[in-house]
């Protein structure tokens, strides 16, 4: 065992030295931007978003985000598929404390609202669909912790999840139809809505639309994963 640990430490030290050696030629804090500079220069004109990260995520690297959403979808589907049992129910025996239950009940709408705020304002402030969706999921998670019998309406969630995903692809396909490119920002570039509004809510083309979809999707998916993990198969 000691031998194994020693060998492992030796291994990781060697690998670490190698990677560090390579990293020493990629100086920390230096300006290495090439495409990044282009984004910073053109982001406002091309997408209308103030938050460049959001613009990159949704507009410039839309495929990545589509893939990312898909990965999460696969995870929730996979989790549901693998934990699928004939009969499933919650097995928690004790309710949460009074503080927790009341607190949850009280906080739930606010947390959801906050999540919604995060993803709707994704193009203006830090945040966006993913943290927003996660926040919403946290709200549901809290309900699970607080109440022993609580269940999300997972059928409805599943359909919502699917519809949201379809919505995303459909937005992309509308772009293909209107602008002849998949995931083309037709709201901003073809219709030209919100050009005067840069820096305010109603701007940035389809970013809010897509982030709303993503937020809903991520929220439902993560809640779905939690739901699947919590419920155990009946005997």
């Amino acid at each position: 065992m000691v031998m194994k640990r020693a060998l492992a430490i030796l291994t990781i030290l060697l690998i670490g030295y190698w990677i560090a050696l390579a990293l020493s030629h990629v100086p920390f804090g230096a300006d290495k931007m090439l495409v990044g500079q282009y984004y910073l220069n053109h982001v406002k004109a091309q997408t209308g978003a103030v938050n460049a990260v959001t613009a990159v995520v949704v507009n410039y690297r839309g495929f990545d985000t589509l893939g990312e959403v898909t990965v999460l979808f696969i995870a929730s589907t996979g989790v549901a598929a693998l934990l699928w049992r004939k009969k499933r129910k919650r097995t928690a025996k004790t309710e949460g404390s009074v503080v927790l239950t009341t607190g949850s009940r009280l906080l739930f709408p606010f947390i959801v609202l906050f999540g919604g705020y995060i993803f709707i304002h994704g193009h203006l402030t830090p945040g966006g669909g993913f943290p927003g969706g996660a926040t919403i999921a946290t709200a549901f998670l809290m309900l699970y912790l607080a109440f022993s019998v609580y269940e999300i309406p997972h059928k409805g969630f599943e359909i919502t999840e699917g519809l949201a995903g379809m919505g995303y692809v459909t937005v992309g396909l509308i772009g293909l139809a209107i602008g002849s490119y998949f995931l083309f920002d037709w709201i901003w570039q073809s219709w030209g809505w919100g050009h005067s509004n840069i820096g305010r809510l109603f701007s940035a083309g389809f970013i809010p639309v897509i982030y709303t979809i993503i937020g809903i999707k991520v929220g439902t998916e993560l809640s779905g994963i939690v739901d699947s993990m919590v419920k155990e198969g009946g005997e």
Binding site: A20, F28, S76, L83, G199
Partner: protein, 115 residues
């Protein structure tokens, strides 16, 4: 050879994660290791995108195109985080299934498929 503290932290996380995978016998521990590795990689990506003295790439007042850090690694890391949590969730699910079948998480005993 000198690397910044962030690089050092990131690489350390990757290596600690790898160490866990290589040494720990408990499946969940291995997954914790993988998760730490992913965090390390994310930190590495972000540190590569950092430019000294610049601020976050949100181009509101006071932040111009020449005054912001690289947005791309941040976008990449957003994706990577989500992918990481997706993998983790799936892996844990599989671990649950394994435990329900074999009643153990010791990888030395999970060796029905071999040879």
């Amino acid at each position: 050879m000198s690397i910044g503290v962030y690089y050092f932290g990131a690489v350390s996380l990757i290596l600690i994660g790898l160490y866990a995978v290589l040494v720990k016998k408990n499946l969940l521990k291995i997954l914790v290791g993988l998760s730490i590795m992913e965090t390390g990689v994310n930190l590495l990506l972000i540190s590569i995108g950092y430019i000294a003295g610049r601020s976050a790439p949100i181009l509101s007042e006071g932040v111009g195109p020449n005054n912001a850090v690289d947005p791309i690694p941040q976008a990449l890391v957003l994706t990577a985080i989500v992918i990481g949590v997706a993998t983790t969730a799936l892996a844990l699910t599989v671990a649950i299934n394994l435990y329900e079948t074999y009643k153990t998480l010791n990888i030395e005993e999970l060796r029905r498929l071999r040879g």
